[in-house]
Subunit: 200 residues, 2 copies
């Protein structure tokens, strides 16, 4: 079905044009016309695929989340150690902006977040998506507890919130330049060392 | 010096008008003209006090930070227990958007953060301010270690980064509505319980 693939590629081209513009000047300052110019397409063609910026941004967010999941799976496989700790560490590092791809993911997430603050319909995407990640993190911690790698006194749901905060907030530390990616990764590893201590 | 006080009050009125507009529609969509209308002043008067939106926002950010510090000091005093743990908990809770005042602080911080992502001069405010908070948190943890309330194996600088992340990231959880302020406070208390355990 080559036609199907073309449509998907066009959507990705448009979403990535939006994202490049957003990263340079923030979402609010970007018009559909500018997105069309950046993507090298006519306004009409862009509007054939997306009714407005919000639809584009949601598509970009979901497209990039799928790509990120695939990257995480590939990296975990490459370590040859699909343990809960390796999976959690790989997820956290992939959520942090440490190269062009992850920086793009982070910036589009911020743009969407800012939009969601003023729009309950857009906030629903976070209300559904983030708890899924929390549950996944908590499940990993429960598996590690069952294996005796994390103490039984640890609360998996609370720890999931802490781990999410470590990725989410520390990304901004890197982008604003007051901590390096290496500093932030050292905090993630420090924290995982503390968490994965059977004795406490 | 009643004239001096007037000037300061005008600046605060303008900054708070900007903040109300920012909270409703994001910083990018707000013009100087709208700020003047919201503050009930002429454009000329607003421009007498601030050259542009960036100056207003920086003033608002610094004004609110001073107010927050005063609130934290008053709350710590009210507990009658100026221990490192009480001080840290009070700081973290005051950074979280749990009422109109703290929600306003959080939103203006987000608006400034988004601006700083695209403007290195504005990012400098975070590069100077956030490390100060990290150092303060780390000092509190060192005092608690000296008193035997936190284990010597804990790394105060790494823990400062974790505590900051808990306030910074969890604020967005509340605003987007997938966790309540009570959920988030329970995570802060869970984490402080773990940190303030002399034995590990």
């Amino acid at each position: 079905m080559p036609k199907q693939v073309d449509h998907e590629e066009r959507r990705i081209q448009i979403a990535e044009a939006l994202q490049r513009l957003t990263a340079r000047r923030g979402l609010e300052g970007v018009s559909l016309r500018q997105v069309a110019a950046e993507a090298g397409m006519s306004m009409g063609l862009v509007q054939h695929y997306f009714k407005n910026k919000d639809e584009m941004l949601l598509y970009a967010l979901e497209h990039r989340a799928k790509q990120r999941e695939a990257r995480i799976a590939a990296k975990v496989t490459a370590t040859g150690d699909p343990s809960p700790r390796t999976i959690l560490r790989t997820c956290l590092l992939e959520l942090l902006p440490h190269d062009k791809t992850t920086e793009g993911d982070y910036l589009i997430g911020i743009a969407y977040f800012v939009r969601a603050l003023a729009d309950p319909a857009m906030a629903a995407v976070f209300r559904e998506g983030v708890p899924d990640v929390f549950r996944f993190f908590a499940d990993m911690i429960r598996q590690a507890q069952a294996a005796g790698d994390v103490a039984a006194t640890v609360d998996p749901d609370q720890e999931a919130a802490v781990l999410w905060a470590l990725a989410d907030s520390q990304g901004s530390n890197i982008l604003l330049g007051h901590r390096t990616a290496a500093d932030v990764v050292s905090t993630v590893d420090y924290y995982l060392d503390r968490l994965f201590t059977p004795g406490n």
